[in-house]
């Protein structure tokens, strides 16, 4: 959808919402309609994240939010559009580690360095899992097996955060393991379920149906602390594997976003994360609320970028 057509559409929607839902108290936000862009196609991870947040955000911040999918070049196009937009609080981009990987792996028109991280919203915990009827009961079993034989570990995509975690796990434990990559989570999941792979790594949301049906067992959380949703599952660190990552889900805008916009978002995100109705939704999806304020988030993303760049450089994936 073109921006112009969209704004028209969104304008009509706002008018409708205002007449139907009763006007909210207006804040000093410079825009009535805020577009949230994602590179993922409708139904994809970031798309669902945004679309589920939008109705609650509308309510909490009293603005009209709309989602736009700018697909193409694994985020390259979305980054170019957002970095060139006016810094008036009207357009933000849903960030995930993907935008850093794309920036580093290809030479896009605009990279993550051309954007200004706004705030972080969630961490999407990465978990290591195996088939429910497999012999592995803990991460230690997996590592022991890989020491004695040869491990078969799966990650959804070739150059991704998940791959990086497994490679780091391999280095940290010094075992022999084949790290197999796929074209997406579903493909890999099948190979975990049919025992082609010992373990797979992925986000909670991807494996929820299998988990609910008791077909999978989660062995470890690859984060700093255990998950509220699964308090029994230990972290990798607790099991002696010193690897932890934080897959972030936040927002970024063009450079020089005005301070009052930043302030409105910092307040808005904290409020929406505390909102009970929204909390129910995101807890079910296995997301960890992880608000990071603007100034810290800039540093967080820069550090994440640096770390990823080092990894890709040291493995020879990029020059």
């Amino acid at each position: 959808m073109s921006l112009k057509a969209f704004q028209l559409f969104a304008g009509v929607a706002t008018a409708l919402a205002l007449t139907l839902g009763g006007a909210q108290a207006q804040t000093k936000y410079p825009k009535d309609t805020v577009m949230l862009a994602t590179h993922s196609s409708p139904g994809g991870g970031s798309d669902i994240f945004l679309r589920e947040m939008v109705p609650h955000l509308n309510r909490v911040m009293g603005l009209n939010f709309a989602v736009e999918n700018i697909s193409g070049g694994s985020g390259a196009k979305a980054m170019a559009v957002v970095s060139k937009s006016k810094p008036d609080g009207g357009l933000f981009y849903a960030t995930t580690p993907t935008f850093i990987y794309t920036s580093l792996l290809s030479k896009p028109e605009a990279t993550y360095k051309d954007l200004e991280p706004l705030v972080n919203v969630f961490f999407d915990p990465e978990v290591v899992y195996t088939a429910a009827d497999s012999k592995f009961k803990s991460l230690k079993d997996v590592i022991d097996h890989a020491k004695a034989n040869r491990g078969k570990w799966g990650a959804a995509n070739p150059a991704s955060l998940e791959r990086q975690v497994l490679e780091r796990m391999k280095t940290a434990t010094g075992v022999r393991a084949a790290v197999v990559t796929f074209e997406g989570g579903g493909d890999m999941l099948i190979n975990v379920l049919n025992h082609t792979l010992d373990i797979g790594i992925g986000e909670m949301q991807e494996i929820r149906p299998q988990l609910e049906a008791g077909k999978l067992r989660v062995l470890a959380v690859m984060g700093d602390k255990r998950l509220e949703q699964m308090p029994d599952v230990p972290t990798a660190k607790e099991q002696g594997v010193d690897v932890a990552v934080r897959k972030f889900r936040g927002l970024a805008g063009p450079k020089n976003t005005p301070p009052d916009v930043v302030k409105a978002w910092e307040e808005g995100i904290q409020k929406v994360l505390a909102d009970p109705a929204y909390k129910k939704v995101y807890m079910e999806n296995g997301l960890q609320p992880a608000f990071i304020a603007h100034d810290e988030y800039k540093k967080f993303v820069a550090d994440f970028g640096k770390e990823t760049e080092d990894f890709l450089r040291s493995t020879g994936t990029i020059k």
Partner: protein, 500 residues
Amino acid sequence: MIDLSGMFNALVASPMIIPAAFAGIAWGILGGALPGISPSITMALLLPFTYGADPTAAVVLLASTYLGAEYGGSIPAILIRTPGTNSAAATVIDGYAMKEQGKAGEALGISLYSTLLGSVFGVALLITLTQPLAAVALAFQPTSYVGLGVLGLSVIASLSGESLIKGMMAGLIGLMIATIGTDPVTGNNRFTFDDPELLSGIPPILVMVGIYAVAELFEQASQPGWRQTNTADAAIKMPDALMRARLRVSQIIGALIGFIEGLTPGGGGTIAAFLSYNEAKRWSKKPEEFGHGSPEGIAAPESANGSVSATALIPMMGLGIPGSNSAAVLLGGFLIHGMTPGPMLFTKHYDVVMGLYAGKVISLFALLVVAYLILRPCIWLVNRPKHYLMAFIFALVLSGVYAIHNSLFHVGIALAFGVIGYAMKYYRIPTLPMVLGVVLGFMVESNYRRALVLSDGDHMTFVEDPIAACLLIVAFGFILVSLVRHFRDSMKSDQKVKSA
């Protein structure tokens, strides 16, 4: 296992299913018929509008759109040599040949009839056996996909007509095109010239629209008397009893291959369409007609498309694993309404599942009705004066190809493939092997390497997987038979040349 009363109750509970099925089919045909607008994009465009809708009607709307789009792709494939979707490219070959022979109405009838039969088969399996069949998807390992891909490529040996060498060249060029983009194992960029637009590779639809539609526009620019469809044949004509009997084998082949591809993630409709075209040719009583307007050449891929549009829902609903982009969008449709497809869907949201089944049945009728209404104006459109028709095809291609990623670069690639297609015709190099290479190349390479990573470099892994072993044996058997036949024929023709 059929719960007819459950389906009926779901229908009574949300009667919106019926208009949703019709609307989905109509919207799907529109999106599918436009080159570049894939079934998944067509469905995704509806997603935002399903937020407020009744969950059952929402998933029915999306599932019907899938069927409509898979069917819709065949209309421009037959009428203007422009595949509307990837999976319709196999239909172009014989569909357009029939149109050129003045049999457009008949070709459209065969395509509609075959899509319907394929989807009846698929829907029947979906309704009765979703849960047990979902387990079949688990039998497929990376090795099995290699077998499937090699079987598909093995057809190049028999397809290439007059010159096996040229066919192999075209197939290799197709495989080369498929290597453009991110490496499936390491994530390195290959042949991308550091252009982010090439990172995800060249979408197959660009190749197909280029070498079929654009090349034909180049060609027709020097043909003043473009053959027009016979006005006597200006209506859709359903196949008669004789034709139905002839189509039976190819339709069964299409429906079965569509079923297997629907079940296995990563397969998808395009591969099903081409595999079933190939197999239909192998098992046909008149294989020589393929490529020159064989009705079976339309029936096989179209029944595969119909079958896939239903069976792709089996792993999506039964396992929560989408087998194709379109199924992924449908999965999104479930998620939006707070339902998670997977083994628990059937216990937690039984009514929605039943509603979806009912909707799938209704969408079959909807397809018949909407297609009948829509085909007459379509045929009228292609009977306009030639210069206007060509101008509009060109405008349609330029608009549609852009839509894939909102990229003018893609429009340029499609034009470039038009030039390549034109040159291939001049040098008498067959185009179909190239399309096969493009469609199958990535699947074969990524799974071949993945399988070797798993086996630590041991090629025996392909023999140890029974599915892969069977498929590979069949493939090599076919290659051997084709080679023997080829050399026998070329010896004969050499003798002819000498005696002449």
